[in-house]
Amino acid sequence: MAETSVIGAGTVVSGHIRGQGSLEILGRVEGDVSVTGNVMIGPAGRVRGNVTGAEVTISGQVQGDLRGTQAVLLEPGARVVGDISGPRVGIAPGALARGHVQTDGEPAPTPARVPAPAARPLSAPARLTPAAPPTPTRVEAKAPLPLPAPARVEAKAPLPLPAPARVEAKAPLPLPAPARIEAKAPPPPSPKVAPPKPEVRKPDPPRAAPASAPAEFTPVRPIKPEPRRPPPPVVPVISKGTKAKKKKSHD
């Protein structure tokens, strides 16, 4: 029946999980996981144990070895302490890994897919990295419509980062208005009214970039990142040899 099993966000499994089918871990597992299907560990998922599956996709935290018979993909926000092996291994920017990584065996039956790209489009990639660049391109593409606005918008968009949020909220209604308003009173209202146009169209990129993307992923890291990180190396204040030099000079 249910080919895909789910360990819910509010569930803790302490023991081994094995068998057929795919597995989605949104909660916690303390034990080894070994399934024939894909394994997906969600952003809030935590596993302490070895994980084996066909395609293993990690967005959460794993303390243990990962083995994917087809692929192992670490999404942004993933934290893995353990060895990683599989024919295809993808570690997206923003993922943390500590351990031995090895790509081995023959690529999966679906060779067309490339690890890194596959990993990105899945969830966050579009939001994370390309966040900044898309804004200009989109504005340009749509500029032809709001002829008067674009020039100003481009100039002002970069600076008033916080403003967009407000504008977005108001934006839906003013859409039709701007043309009229600008014709009447160009100087004062235009800065306020004009921005909404482009803002309305490009809400996706800006939102994703500053607000949602970090918001989504930061929570994952704060959980344990600091405590787990090794303490900074103790660097001696006096570099090696300086004492010897001093002594020598005294002598």
């Binding site: 029946m1 249910a2 080919e3 895909t4 099993s5 789910v6 360990i7 819910g8 966000a9 509010g10 569930t11 803790v12 499994v13 302490s14 023991g15 081994h16 999980i17 094995r18 068998g19 057929q20 089918g21 795919s22 597995l23 909660g27 303390e30 034990g31 399934v35």
Partner: protein
């Protein structure tokens, strides 16, 4: 949708605990504790003590059951173990062996 689903073909050896609904179609050996409903599907084989708000059994369960609300054994279901629940039903065609404590 159920919070946790153990699909057919999947085996868990160990404890499951949580605060959400749990549906089992596969195998479980260990212990199962939740504050929500537990459903044991027709293909499931469970050898575990179960604690939950309610339990519905269509598969096989071996173990003691404690439910804060109710326990239902569906037709075709099999339960061996003691039951402690306020309400308890056994459908025609179900099999059951054990003690029942309905907190009278």
């Amino acid at each position: 949708m159920a919070g946790t689903v153990i699909g057919e073909g999947l085996t868990i050896e160990g404890d499951i605990s949580g605060d959400e609904e749990i549906v089992i179609h596969g195998n479980l050996r260990g212990r199962l504790t939740t504050t929500d409903a537990v459903t044991v599907g027709g293909t499931a084989v469970v050898g575990a003590d179960i604690t939950g708000a309610s339990l519905s059994v269509a598969g096989q369960v071996t173990g003691d059951v404690t439910a804060s609300e109710r326990v239902d054994i569906q037709a075709g279901g099999k339960l061996v173990g003691d039951i402690k629940a306020a309400r308890f039903t056994i459908a025609d065609g179900a099999s059951f062996k054990g003690n029942v404590d309905m907190e009278v």
